[in-house]
């Protein structure tokens, strides 16, 4: 069984293997499909229309499936690789080892936000941006510029304490665990981390920054933690609901996977530690 680990605990070899597998998917031309799929959903998911990947109950199972597919793709390159997660409540500064040159590289430089260290630095490196919102073809970050602080452990605890998974109107205006986790309301967890990283992570094409996977892996772990703490609660809605993916309905773009299929992550992988 694959074990997903905290990025702060990875060995030098595990870091090398992860980075090499990501770069190989990029070289093979497979990586950019994840960027365009994500952007297609995030720009198509609307509060009053069909919504699947974001601002809806299926935000969590959709991203669990999306990460699983990416992880399986990495494993086709190197079967030992699993997705690491970034616990941003603990590793919350720009000098965390996450941003060192042997994993994701550092902050963008002040002049143009360009990342100039690590395996994903450009331009002219191994990480050209093909699917992008504007003319800049290099990875950019502005750590801590768009918002000064990452969420704290207390912020996360306050969201994990919410008992109801999601609620009508099943969008960015909802009460409930899912929307507080996604960050459209309340203390703002997931959205705030995208804004804190800045650069491509602030855009609809956020998977251009490999930290996307480590961020969402931690969000996925927090969903598992919520399930562990509220075993009597489940995914909602369970009944057919207009524009929203109910428990036993399939999700685009796969059309063969339901939220119900994604509830138990231990069918696919485990985490090193509870939150």
């Amino acid at each position: 069984m694959a074990v997903r680990k905290n990025q702060a605990t990875l060995t030098p070899k595990e870091k090398r293997d992860f980075v090499a597998a990501v770069l190989e998917l990029k070289r093979l031309g497979r990586y950019d499909a994840y960027v365009s799929t994500h952007n297609r959903f995030i720009t198509g998911d609307t509060d009053n229309g069909e919504r699947t990947g974001h601002r809806s109950p299926s935000f969590l199972p959709w991203h669990r499936k999306f990460l699983l597919q990416f992880e399986q793709d990495l494993q086709s390159v190197n079967r030992d690789v699993t997705l690491p997660y970034w616990d941003w409540t603990a590793d919350r500064t720009t000098d965390a080892s996450l941003w060192a040159a042997d994993l994701l590289g550092g902050n963008g430089r002040s002049r143009d936000g360009q990342v100039t260290t690590g395996p994903f630095a450009g331009p002219g490196g191994k990480w050209p941006l093909a699917v992008r919102p504007d003319s800049r073809d290099f990875l950019r970050r502005q750590l801590g510029a768009g918002v000064s602080d990452l969420p704290t452990r207390a912020d996360v605890e306050s969201v994990l304490a919410v008992t109801t998974y999601d609620a009508a109107p099943w969008n960015s205006a909802s009460d409930g665990f899912r929307n507080l986790m996604e960050g459209w309301r309340g203390v703002n967890l997931h959205n705030r981390v995208h804004v804190w990283v800045g650069g491509l992570m602030s855009t609809g094409m956020s998977p251009n920054d490999p930290v996307f996977w480590l961020h969402h892996c931690f969000i996925d772990k927090l969903w598992a933690e919520w399930q562990r703490r509220h075993p009597e609660q489940g995914y909602l809605p369970t009944a057919a609901t207009r524009n929203v993916v109910a428990l036993n309905y399939t999700m685009k773009p796969w059309n063969d996977t339901t939220p119900a299929d994604m509830l138990d992550h231990t069918k696919f992988y485990t985490y090193d530690n509870p939150f």
């Binding site: 365009s36 952007n39 995030i42 720009t43 609307t46 509060d47 009053n48 601002r55 143009d112 936000g113 699917v131 992008r132 919102p133 504007d134 003319s135 800049r136 510029a145 768009g146 918002v147 000064s148 306050s158 109107p169 969008n171 960015s172 205006a173 009460d175 507080l180 960050g183 459209w184 309301r185 309340g186 203390v187 703002n188 997931h190 959205n191 705030r192 995208h194 804004v195 602030s202 855009t203 609809g204 094409m205 956020s206």
Partner: protein, 137 residues
Amino acid sequence: MPENTTELTRRRMLQGAGVALSAAAGLTVIGLTGPAAAADPAHTEADAAHDGHDGHDTGGGFDEVYRGRRIQGRPAAEHQHHGGWTVLIDGQELHAMQNADGTWISVVNHYQPYRTPRALARAAVTDLQGATLLPIG
């Protein structure tokens, strides 16, 4: 960005209170977390004058030069009742979307709501640092 930090601190304070009270005062929470409290570092008095304080009252559009870039916005006729707008930067469309609470996000600020389409366009100009938008795919 001091304004942004101040705004966020205020928002978090209000929303932190909102979470604690949500069971008893759900409607109050919506009021506190609505457009007036959204992060909006680019918001100015001119926004308020032209667009109104209500995020839904977005008026008849805007056309100005901001930091050397021409930004334009107008309600999109086919989506008018859903709050759809067309926002342009130097004539190139910025993909924009309205949230249920009336705030706005764009393809370059997809996780950070702004109060008006004009503030959204200005934030995009700041982010672009002179780069040009690519056509919406």
